[in-house]
């Protein structure tokens, strides 16, 4: 589908046989970063009596701060910058992709609907867990695979299950975000197709099929806004849970 196609904007240069190009995906990543930067800039005035904008920014930081202190404990403060950037970047990416800019001829590209990008984000949070875990606990980190109170006669089975569930984490993180965004956009596309095709088929079909489809699209769009927020939240929440595993073991 056209909205998921990566197009080259600037053909770039050649690095060891690979083309390093500036694509629309990279463009929208930059747009998300700039939007996030502007959002933060408006709220970093540090006024004693905060204005509306500062309340928004402080609300967002407090939200992540509370999440980490609830899930990781006092040590979680050190991971607030990482989880906050992750959360806000994904949230802005999801929301930017939903903007109805198509009516003015600009086609938004939801880069979180690509597995390469969500995969890199997931690998980042997975490697932070590995680095922190081995840094803090050394080889004792492997006790993560043997939860407290494991019966001796199950010692052959539980570590295998724990290892599999540990190794699956980056895939489940990346896959969840990527599929949720892709599925939402495909759903909107299918409903939009209903409206266009029903309209082309005649006035009666247009009203009988196109009308309800259009109403459904409005509802689904609202649902997609909710999903954009929930997926960013779930990504950050699971990252903080994994960081908790690394910091406190079990």
């Amino acid at each position: 589908m056209h909205q998921f196609e990566v197009q080259t904007i600037w053909s770039g240069f050649d690095l060891a046989g690979h083309q390093i190009a500036f694509t629309n995906s990279a463009l929208w990543m930059c747009a998300a970063a700039v939007a996030l930067w502007l959002f933060m800039l408006g709220g970093l005035k540090g006024a004693v009596v905060p204005g509306r904008w500062q309340v928004m920014v402080e609300g967002a930081t407090r939200f992540i701060d509370n999440m980490l202190s609830a899930n990781v404990g006092p040590e979680g403060k050190r991971y607030v910058p990482f989880v906050f950037s992750l959360f806000m970047f994904i949230l802005f990416a999801n929301l930017l992709g939903l903007l109805p800019l198509g009516v003015v001829g600009v086609h938004p590209f939801t880069f979180t609907s690509h597995f390469t990008i969500t995969g890199v984000l997931a690998i980042m949070s997975f490697s932070i867990v590995l680095v922190v875990g081995f840094w803090k606990h050394g080889l004792h980190f492997f006790s993560l695979f043997v939860p407290h109170g494991t019966p001796v006669w199950l010692l052959w089975l539980i570590p295998v299950i724990e290892l599999v569930s540990f190794m699956v984490r980056p895939f489940s993180l990346a896959l969840r975000l990527f599929v949720a965004m892709t599925a939402g956009h495909v759903l909107l596309k299918v409903l939009a197709g209903f409206v266009i095709n029903a309209g082309n088929a005649g006035a009666l079909t247009g009203i009988a099929v196109g009308g309800p489809s259009f109403l459904l699209m409005i509802g689904i769009s609202a649902l997609e806004l909710l999903v954009a927020g929930i997926q960013a939240y779930v990504f950050a929440l699971l990252t903080s849970l994994y960081i908790n595993d690394a910091v406190n073991l079990h």
Binding site: R176, V179, L237
Partner: protein, 75 residues
């Protein structure tokens, strides 16, 4: 059966997984509401666990979607 037809039938059957995930997600939120209405004071503290359960249930439905997409476009 023709291989192409079998792929499409398989993708359709994979959609059952999406419906099952709907039951799962509904169960998560329904049970949460049931508990939250009995003890509203404790509800806010459990929001994190609510979304962990939601994420786990939802992932399996999304996997069904992935299976359908792979069957149609990749396999």
């Amino acid at each position: 059966m023709d291989a192409e037809a079998a792929k499409l039938v398989g993708a359709g059957i994979a959609a059952i997984g999406a419906g099952m995930a709907a039951i799962g997600v509904g169960n998560v939120f329904g049970s949460f509401l049931e508990g939250a209405l009995r003890n509203p004071g404790a509800a806010d503290g459990q929001q994190g666990r609510l979304f962990i359960g939601f994420a786990a249930a939802e992932l399996l439905g999304l996997l069904a979607f992935v299976v359908a997409m792979i069957l149609i476009f990749v396999a």
